[in-house]
Amino acid sequence: MARAASVDMRTRMQELLPKIVLAPSFALVLLFVYGFIAFTIYLSFTDSRMLPSYGWEGWTNYSKLFRIREWDTAITNLAIFASLYIVICTIIGLMLAIFLDQKIRGEGLLRPIFLYPMALSFIVTGTAWKWFLDPGIGIENTMHLWGWESFEFGWIKDRNMAIYTIVIAAVWQSSGFVMAMFLAGLRGIDNEILKAAQMDGASNWQLYRRIIIPLLRPAFLSAFVILSHLAIKSYDLVIALTGGGPGNATAVPATFMYSYTFTRNQMGIGAASAVIMLMTIAAIMVPYLYAELREKK
């Protein structure tokens, strides 16, 4: 009897153990991710200023938020930045991947060169590009020294153009990574399909347009998801490159949230802006993750 009971205990223990092992991480995630999200959502409906405060205000913060000029700028900037960043990275990434896939000599050398920027911190990238783009000492000055006196490149100091300098630096940092994703996709394509198409007399152009690029759909999708989520989160690069300036010409939602919450003591509005950011990312990520997890079953 006793022996049977102890065996029973042991098997029950064995059944419970996996859940006990997983439980702490799950609890951490529930609290630090979902609990915190709930708390921030709650704060976005309160009159919090410098510190969290719990006076219910309804949608006031949201209606205030959308009347703030800087938030308008931030959203517009994000739209410009995200769309250019995603499109340019995808074009460069795809082109480099296709080119690298042409039995290139020295591929082993070129690949790490294309990729290394993504190992760097956005702060490092920003520090470097801030300087190159500075008209007084950077590229513009170099061109002048080389005798091209009329060359002008002052975007970083120009309210209307500064956001594009962020696109340049961000593309420099991430396009190699997109290349790697497409290259992995290309290398995964079944050779037989290509040979068959070639035997049918398909030209190179047709081969890529009709067969290879459509087969890369998963890579396109992953690139889009990753780049868009990086774009919405981008904070460091803007801080290091322009600090959100000139004025607040390059403010993005991430910098807006930080400055309203921690320096301007408008925590309620800061929380509301964070909620909008989360919703935007969720709108992209949730369907993607849902599809991934369902397929894996």
Binding site: V124, I189, A274
Partner: protein, 293 residues
């Protein structure tokens, strides 16, 4: 994989090939030039930078900017150089990576070999946590760190990075262990091996590749983090990225560009080294995290 696919490439004409090579070289230049310029200018005296061409090699080679960036440059108010902050980052990144990787491996093991009802939901919730904009957790995190009395410390940052690194670590190990034959696990179970025995004896010995991937990924992410560092440890406990940003932005008087560049390279050095040593795995890991299979 890459050898077989060399046949993929359809042959292109000579003009086409020249164009392909030229484009690739041009882009190689585009990616390399910024780093080259940083390096070259970090070895020049300041006068050569403000008065000269940024692409030119130094006439007067000097390592003074590097020494200054490392140990004497003004960071915020203290002339300490980046050295203490470099060690802050090391003290932050090493424990965070070790803890995260261990937790991730166990989680991946449970989620693939000890499946239970609702495990996909658990994993889905963990997975989504990798992609949230961290702005959404900044305010409550600041409070919790305050309550635990670890705000403004390296320990606080370790906690933050562990919490938000678990998702990715779990993702990597789960995807990796999913391909590991479950029959082996079942056979060991029948032989009487327990939960941890199976993990140590059977799964762990073959987890080398994914561990490399996971460690590299976590290391670069945590080392390069700026938002959490700036929010929760901006003083003495600031990590390298925050200190670099202070160095570049807060220097009073003459802007010492050569020192800034030396500092930027110092901040990039650990991740670059990791990348140079194990870059191939790094790429493979990113694939595992983003593209299926």
């Amino acid at each position: 994989m890459s050898v077989a696919s060399q046949d993929n490439a359809a042959s292109v004409g000579r003009v086409g090939r020249t164009f392909v090579y030229l484009t690739l070289l041009l882009f190689a230049l585009f990616y390399l030039l910024p780093f080259f310029i940083m390096l070259v200018n970090s070895l020049k005296p300041l006068g050569e930078i403000t008065g000269g061409n940024m692409i030119a090699l130094p006439q007067d080679w000097t390592i003074a900017p590097w020494l200054s960036a490392w140990s004497t440059a003004q960071i915020g108010v203290e002339p300490t150089g980046l050295k203490p902050y470099f060690w802050n980052s090391i003290r932050m990144v090493v424990p965070a990576v070790v803890i995260c990787t261990m937790i991730g491996a166990l989680n991946g093991y449970v989620l693939t070999k000890w499946r239970f009802r609702g495990d996909t939901i658990v994993f889905g919730l963990m997975l989504f946590s990798c992609f949230i904009p961290f702005q959404i957790v900044l305010i409550p995190m600041a409070r919790i760190l305050g309550i635990l009395e670890i705000s403004g410390t390296t320990a606080g940052l370790v906690l933050v990075h562990v919490v938000y690194g678990i998702g990715f670590a779990t993702l990597y190990y789960r995807n990796y262990y999913a391909a590991f034959p479950t029959e082996l696990v079942r056979a060991a179970q029948i032989d009487g091996a327990g939960f941890f025995q199976i993990f140590y004896r059977i799964l762990l010995p073959s987890s080398g590749p994914i561990t490399v991937v996971c460690v590299i990924w976590l290391f670069t992410n945590i080392w390069n983090d700026f938002l959490f560092g700036a929010s929760f440890a901006s003083g003495d406990a600031a990590p390298m990225t925050v200190a670099l940003n202070n160095l570049v932005n807060s220097s009073t008087g003459v802007r010492e560009y050569n020192v800034h560049f030396a500092g930027a390279i110092l901040a990039a050095l650990p991740t670059l080294l990791v990348y140079i040593v194990a870059g191939r795995f790094f790429v493979r890991g990113l694939m595992a995290g983003s593209v299926k299979g």
